[in-house]
Every structure is written in structure tokens, then in C-alpha cells.
Amino acid sequence: MFEPVLLKRASLPRSETIEVYMANGGYQALPKALEMKPAELIDLVKRSKLRGRGGAGFPTGLKWGFMTPENVTKYLCVNTDEGEPGTFKDRELVEKDPHQIIEGAIIAAYAVGAQRAFVYIRGEFFLGVKRWIKAIADAYARGFLGKNILGTSYSLDMSVHRGAGAYICGEETAMIESLEGKRGEPRLKPPYPAQIGYLRQPTLVHNVETLANVPHIVNRGAEWYASIGTEQSTGPKVFCVSGHVFRRGVYELPMGTPLHEIIYTHAGGVPGGKKVKAVIPGGASTPLLTGDELDVTMDFESLAAVGSALGTGAIIVMDEDTCIVDVARRTARFFAHESCGRCTPCRVGTQQAVRLLERIEAGEGDSRLIDQLVDLVDGMAGKTFCPMGDALVAALRGTFKFMEEFHAHVALKRCPLGLPYQEGAPIREKAPGASTHAAA
């Protein structure tokens, strides 16, 4: 039985408090880390083979190594924007154990020489915001933050910045723009934030879960950490399971846990003994797997090998009564709603995808609509400014594994499963914000 690492304290009463954190092994990694040289810490994290948990799985130690310039102001951003549909792990970590993240953040900031840390948090995380603010204040009070941390020469300030509800602001460069008080839209990459980030200074951006791992690596060593999980995906992973399962929720398991084990053993299987039709393995941006692909293990390399991705580890289970065309339409609506509007293929492509899927699902038109949808998705692929557009491409291509269901809709002029078509609220609000100004 795997013993939880990141969620170990989460079930304790008042787990969010600094007292409970410290009584259960908290803030023990920080003094150790501050005694180490930054380069040693970077090496440690490299050896642990920790990979980012924000979606892309970029090697954390390597990213720290990019923050090379000395004697310049550097920043750390703790990405708590968690907006990927199906994902609710960061929220759990923040609400239940914020000091674990703060400790990891201080160590990361020390390793890369950052003097200032920002917590960028999704505006709707009301409890999370409160917990963050309280935790930061308590950490200051105990000398873990602020001037001369634990009597060393290292100082770090940390503050919380609330987002205004845009998915794109979870993308690291859009987050930095938003932090700077601008419209939340991605920047051109390269340069990467580690080169030019907040206020044009080197900036390290990390997901909450990534940072939560750091104190444990310092405490228990890189070898221990790397022994969990698989060769290329080490450590524990917090999976979020939702959809048609008995026990929806957050599960901390080693990387490389088989998907069917998560669904059937941990989440209790599908109600009504129904079959699993499809599973989205890593949040709405990752292509779905069919019910026949459940023996895949949940790690970066295995999911890539079956043409999907680990993403955020958000597992959405869909039983045999799920209409995949409806899934496609809802997913497209999400991306159309969240497109920042900067580049044509994403701004217009997502709208057109919604429009086509609405027509297919409603049983309008014929199979040419489906051809058009496939062409649209192929057209969008690889053309967008940031990965957001490609996320919809990936998601829709996943749904195309059920191509016969799309054809059944247009052939029968209704859903083959007999599900009613419920049109969503229009993506485009009525004459949005257009002000009416008469001719002078």
C-alpha cells in the first residue's frame, strides 16, 4: 500500500494551520535547504527527476538551471490558477496544506536566487485565497518569510494576487502579463519566463503540486524520490477522478499507477455496472482514451505512447451512456469561451468548431459537416500562438476515435443514444459590450 506523501497531512484536523504542519514534519526541509548551496539544490532536484505538474511535465531541475544570471532581480510565481476542466488537485493542496507549498516555494526561490514570490490564484478559489493569505502571514510571523529567513542572509517576500477568472491566465506568460496589470494574454516564446519574465526579469513559474514535492525531496533525498514511479516519471502524483465513478475525488498514487486500478480499485468503478466508454486521462486538453485502453499506466511516457498525455492527471470517466459528440461540443465550448482572442486560428477556429458540433449534434446537415469539422481541426493544428488552440485540436481528435457516433448523429438526425440535445447558452453574448454611439 502506497503511503501518501503530498496528502499525508490533508486528512488531519486543522491541517491548514502552521501548528499542524510543523507538528507533522513541516518546515524541516527549509533549514536543510538553506544550508545547501543553490547549485547543490538544483542538482538534487535534477537527480530526483521531478517533472512539472502543471501539464507539460517539464523537468523541474532543468528549469531551475535556466535561471542562471547572477545579481539580477528574479521572481518566482506559484501557479494556482488551476482552470483545466476536471482538475481540482491544486485546490486540495492549497486548502488542506498550504505550508507544504510555501516551504517548497521558499526552497525553489532560494535555489534560483529569487527575492520575491507571487502566488497567482484563481479568483474563484475563495477559501484558497483565505488559506494562502493566512499561511503566508503565519510563515512571516515565524521567520520563514521576510528578511533573513531563519537567521540566514537569504530574504524572500511573498504575496497573493487574485486572477479575474480567465483560463488562459494559467499559461505562464499570460499569468505574468496579468501580474503586471495587463490583459491576460500569452507572450511570444522564446524568450521563456526563465529568461525574460515578470517586469522583464528572470522568473520561475511552477505549479502548486510541483512545489509541494520539493520539501520531501530535500528531506528524504533524490534517490528515495526517484524510486517512486517510473523511470521517466518519478514521485507521487495527485490524480483527480471525476465523472461516472462511485468515489470521485483526489487520489495520491505513485506515477505509473494503471488507469484501470485508479478507476476500479480506488474510485470504486462505474455505477450500475456500466462499461467505461471513454476516459479523459489528463484534463480537457488531453485526447480521450477508449474503454479498451484502460490498461495504460498513468505516467508521462506511457500516455504519450498511446497518443494522449498525462496533463494535470485529471481523469474524467465516461460510461457507455455518454454521447461523445456532446462531449466534443462541450469541450469546444469551453475553449471558445476561454480563447483570449489574440490569434485567428484559436479565436475563430474554436467558434467554428462549436458551430459545427452544434449542428452535428442537433442532427442538421449531412456528413459533409463532419468532413468540415475534421478539416477545421487539421487546419488549426500547429497554427496557434500558444498551446491553447492545440489543446482543443488534441481533445477533438480524441473524440474522433468515435467517428461512427458523429456519422450516426447526422444519419439519424438525432443522438443515437437518444439523448436530448440541449443547446448551451450562446458563446457570443448578445452584442457584447458594444456601445451604441450615434453619429456625431
Binding site: T344, T350, L356, G379, A431, G433, A434, H437, A438, A440
Partner: protein, 562 residues
């Protein structure tokens, strides 16, 4: 700078390291279709029209932002690139109202011409677009969001070039629209009506009222000339159709303005409300009545003869070097319609894009010499430069300044600028004395003296260098051109004069004072040269043919009658 070797469509070129693929292609003479890109502003890679194939890159890359590297091989027109371009254009055409036959830009629109070039012959996608209302709250041009492709050129032009930062975006995705300030009607915003956004817009979204629906690219001609309204002497392109100027645009290639113009240069000539003077008028029994050119000249000669040598000729800034030279045929003193220009230290206006502290002395560059003011605004916005206004009255530059101090507080400005690498002192004749004092205390300072009238320096070179400050004469000859108003000393002098001859393009205000009023070509209608405040001689070209006698003819004929 080191060069790198890249191959574009099979052609090898050596380009400076750090160039974009688009710049490299330009050097190689290869055209890559673009839409959101414009050479005058920073690229943002938003529209994705310029995607090209770069070997060893997994996906197509935007030429406008992608940097070249040694040995790079680029294909700008492969099957894959063409298909991608058509796809992006199809999306743009489906997004909002692009029914070209109803659009004033049809025939000149960049989106439309890309569609023709790329063989778009049908609508691929549904056009289920929302209708946005048109913002027509601005005097000179309207904003039709329905034709906007969200390329953001307007935003960047207003921000990077004009330094005004009026424009921005609201909403997200499909609902994104261009707004002014915090979403107020454009006409009530901080916009200074320079029209740069209008000029840079590739589609019919920003629409000029004066020239709307008046002619497509193939029906117009463009004539490069100069604006004489102030001594910056901006290069203009006069857009002409049927022997009429329908629009004035800034010449992107011209120094010192590099495409920019201000409200006065771009819009005033086409929104002129005064009466055009096309026939000579002679005052008979107190009333101006039409006369032939000969009658009018005879009447003028008669009046001037009566005044003997007591004649003073006053020339406005709209008078060219050649016209000024011809005025020597007239008797008596010669003066400028305003104060005499003062000499700076020969700094050119380029200094305004380099200085780190500006001291604007007793003038307002948001009223006159606005394009020079834009340089200061953009420097404050983007280079961290600081502006101090020395003026006893509020100026429209105050919002860009760290402080406005009175003329008596000038030493505060000296203290502030003492540490600057390159302070620039900007002034007109009114601030000259104080500017000299400041400069004496700031050894690194550049003195940028702005001449008060359009062609003041050209007139001075032709021997008309006295400012008019009430020189007494029995009779006056005023060569006004388009001068919109009479400076106060001139008005009172003309009021008291026995006899006034004026040659002007418009009746007003000269019909109040003139005994003989002669028509004069406008700047659009004459060729010649002018000298701007930097001392550069610039050519004017007539864009419109007229049969009005020139100033040269007036001076020669009147001179011979005297």
C-alpha cells in the same frame, strides 16, 4: 553585426543575425503575405497569415516574429504554406461582416487583396456573427467593429508611435473588440485625432469620413508632398481622385515624421469650412465684389502707389521658398506673419527619440508641432524618459510630464536635468531667452528650437526674417495661403492701414480687412520647396491642377505695375 546565411525559396541570402524571417525575405526580395504585421510597429504574431515552412521545425512558424539562424531553410510558398494561408483567411472571412460590396475599403483592403491573391472563391465556414454597433462618435472617422480583424495594428500604432495609448481591447475570444480608454465612446476619449490608427488599419474597420466610398486603390493616385502647417514639415501622401485630394496620409518613408501626422495636417485641410477663394475680390463702396485678375491688380497697384514707399509685405508660413523669393519684386519692408525663428544648436528632431529628460519651455507641443510632441510622448511611455513642462498655463502635455513648473521655477528643472545623459530643451521663440539660460547651466543639453511658422526658415533664407510685431505702414500686402487666423499685432495693424492687399486661399478672415483680395493656390496645388525647423529643404508637389495665378505671377505683375 554578424550575418547569417539563410535559404529562402531556394535563394541564399546573407542577413543580419537577429532578423526575422520576414525581414530576411524582404532583403531577398521575396514577398510573404502578412496582415497584423506592419513595418512601423513591433510584430506580435497574432493573425497567423504569415506562417511559413521552416525545415527542421515541427510546425509552421510566423515569419513576422521567427528569428533567422545560420543555415535555416525556409519555404514561403509550399503547398502546405498556401493551404495554411487560405485556412487562416477563411477563418477571418467567416468571423465578422466581410461583405465587401458594402464596404468603403473594398478595392484597397489588405484582407480582400489577400483573398484574391490566395484564390478564395467561396465561404468555407458559417458566418454566424454577432452584430456590433458602429462607433461614430469621432469627428473624422468611424469604427466599425464588424469589419475589424483584431490585428491590433491600431493599438500598437497609438501606443508605440503616437505615444498616446488610447486604444485597447475588451472581452475575450469572439467577443473581443477594440475600445478607447476604459471603454468610453471614441469621441470622448483621450484620442488626439491624429489618425495614425486610421492610416494603419488594413481593413474597412476604421473609416475616414471625408474619403469614404470615394475611390479604391486603382482609382486614386498618390502624390508625395509636405505639410506646411507647422515647421516640423511632415512628409505627406496626398490621395487624389479626379483632381481632388480626398485624403491626406503620412508618408511612412519620410523624415522626420515617418508616417505620423497630427489632426491639423491630416484632417483640417479636408474639413475646411471657410470659403474657398477662386476669383479676385475688390472692395467697392465697402463691399467686396468680384473682379477680373487685371482689374484687381490695377486696384492693388493704385492703392499701393498711394502709400508710396510705406508698404509692408507680410508672408505666412504657407509661403514656399520660391514664392518668398518672388516677393522681393514688391516694394517696402518684408515681415513674417508671426515671430522670427530663433536658432537652436542645430539638433535635429531625432534628438527627441534619444533624450532622457525633456524640458518643454513655454510652449505646448500638443497644440503646435504635435508630431514632435508624439516623439516625447512615446519616449515617456516606452523609454522611461521624463518630461518637465515649464509654463505658467496648463498644457496638454502635462499628463505626460512628471511636473509642470512655472517659468519662475525654471531652476528646479535644471536640478532635475543635471544628472541626465541627454537633456533636451524644446522651445519656440517665446521661450528662447529662458531656454538659453537653462542650456548655459546644462552642458550636456541639446537645444531644439522649433520655428514658429511652417516655412519660417525658408522665408528667412529668402530674406524675410523679421517677425511682424506691428511694423507701421500705410499699406500692406499679406500673402496668407491657408493661414487660418490673423495674429493680434497684424490684425490691429491691418485695421489701421490705409490699404490692404491680401492673397489667400480662403476668404476668411482676410475679407474683414482686405481692400483687394486675390486667390492663392493651397499647399496641395503648388510645387516648390520649404525648409523645416531642422533646416532640411523639402519638396512640395502639386497634387491638384488649378488655374489660379501663383504668388510668383502676382508679385511679378503687381511689381511691374508699381
Amino acid at each position: 553585426m554578424t550575418n547569417v546565411r539563410v535559404t529562402i525559396d531556394g535563394q541564399e541570402v546573407l542577413v543580419p543575425a537577429g532578423s526575422t524571417v520576414l525581414e530576411a525575405a524582404r532583403l531577398a526580395g521575396i514577398k510573404i503575405s502578412t496582415l497584423c504585421d506592419h513595418p512601423a510597429i513591433e510584430p506580435i504574431g497574432a493573425c497567423r497569415v504569415c506562417l511559413v515552412e521552416i525545415e527542421k521545425q515541427r510546425v509552421l512558424q510566423p515569419a513576422c516574429t521567427f528569428p533567422v539562424s545560420e543555415g535555416m531553410v525556409v519555404h514561403t510558398n509550399s503547398e502546405r504554406v498556401q493551404e495554411s494561408r487560405r485556412f487562416v483567411l477563411q477563418l477571418l472571412f467567416s468571423e465578422r461582416n466581410h461583405f465587401c460590396m458594402f464596404c468603403q475599403m473594398s478595392g484597397s483592403c489588405e484582407l480582400q487583396s489577400l483573398a484574391y491573391e490566395n484564390g478564395l472563391d467561396h465561404w468555407e465556414f458559417d458566418r454566424a456573427f454577432t452584430k456590433f454597433s458602429v462607433d461614430a462618435s469621432r469627428k473624422y472617422f468611424a469604427m466599425d467593429h464588424n469589419r475589424c480583424i483584431l490585428c491590433r495594428r491600431c493599438i500598437r500604432a497609438c501606443d508605440e508611435l503616437v505615444g498616446n495609448g488610447t486604444l485597447g481591447l475588451k472581452n475575450r475570444g469572439a467577443n473581443t473588440i477594440i475600445i478607447a480608454d476604459l471603454d468610453v465612446p471614441f469621441g470622448e476619449s483621450s484620442c488626439v485625432s491624429c489618425g495614425t490608427c486610421l492610416q494603419i488599419c488594413p481593413t474597412g474597420a476604421l473609416m475616414d469620413r471625408a474619403s469614404a466610398y470615394m475611390g479604391a486603390k486603382n482609382e486614386i493616385t498618390r502624390v508625395k508632398s509636405r505639410c506646411m502647417a507647422c515647421s516640423v514639415g511632415c512628409g505627406v501622401e496626398l490621395v487624389v481622385r479626379d483632381n481632388r485630394v480626398i485624403r491626406v496620409e503620412g508618408d511612412w518613408e519620410a523624415a522626420p515624421n515617418k508616417g505620423l501626422l497630427c489632426e491639423i495636417g491630416r484632417f483640417h485641410p479636408l474639413h475646411e469650412e471657410r470659403h474657398r477663394l477662386r476669383k479676385p475680390l475688390v472692395r467697392r463702396e465697402g463691399i467686396l465684389v468680384e473682379a477680373t485678375w487685371e482689374e484687381a491688380l490695377r486696384a492693388a497697384a493704385q492703392g499701393l502707389k498711394a502709400a508710396g514707399q510705406e508698404v509692408c509685405t507680410v508672408a505666412s508660413g504657407f509661403v514656399t521658398n520660391e514664392e518668398a523669393a518672388a516677393l522681393q519684386a514688391l516694394p517696402g519692408a518684408k515681415a513674417l506673419m508671426g515671430s522670427a525663428p530663433v536658432a537652436g544648436d542645430g539638433s535635429c528632431l531625432g534628438v527627441l527619440d534619444e533624450a532622457d529628460v525633456y524640458i518643454m519651455v513655454n510652449t505646448d507641443l500638443a497644440k503646435d508641432h504635435q508630431v514632435a510632441g508624439f516623439a516625447i510622448k512615446r519616449s515617456v511611455r516606452h523609454r522611461g524618459a521624463r518630461l518637465v513642462v515649464l509654463s505658467d498655463q496648463p498644457t496638454k502635455m502635462d499628463d505626460w510630464a512628471i511636473a509642470r513648473w512655472t517659468l519662475a521655477e525654471a531652476d528646479r528643472a535644471v536640478r532635475l536635468a543635471a544628472e541626465a545623459q541627454m537633456p533636451a530643451i524644446i522651445y519656440t521663440p517665446e521661450g528662447a531667452a529662458l531656454a538659453e539660460t537653462l542650456a548655459a547651466q546644462l552642458p550636456r543639453a541639446k537645444r531644439v528650437a522649433l520655428a514658429p511658422l511652417g516655412n519660417a526658415l525658408g522665408l528667412a533664407q529668402a530674406g524675410i526674417s523679421q517677425g511682424f510685431d506691428g511694423q507701421k505702414a500705410a499699406a500692406y500686402v499679406v500673402v496668407a495661403g491657408e493661414a487660418p487666423a490673423m495674429p493680434a499685432p497684424l490684425a490691429s495693424a491691418l485695421d489701421k492701414a490705409d490699404f490692404v492687399v491680401a492673397q489667400a486661399s480662403y476668404r476668411e478672415p482676410w475679407d474683414q480687412v482686405a481692400d483687394v483680395l486675390l486667390p492663392m493656390p493651397t499647399t496641395f496645388e503648388k510645387s516648390g520647396t520649404m525648409v523645416n525647423t531642422e533646416g532640411h529643404a523639402y519638396a512640395l508637389s502639386a497634387a491638384v491642377k488649378v488655374t489660379l495665378p501663383s504668388v510668383q505671377e502676382m508679385a511679378a505683375q503687381l511689381g511691374s505695375l508699381l
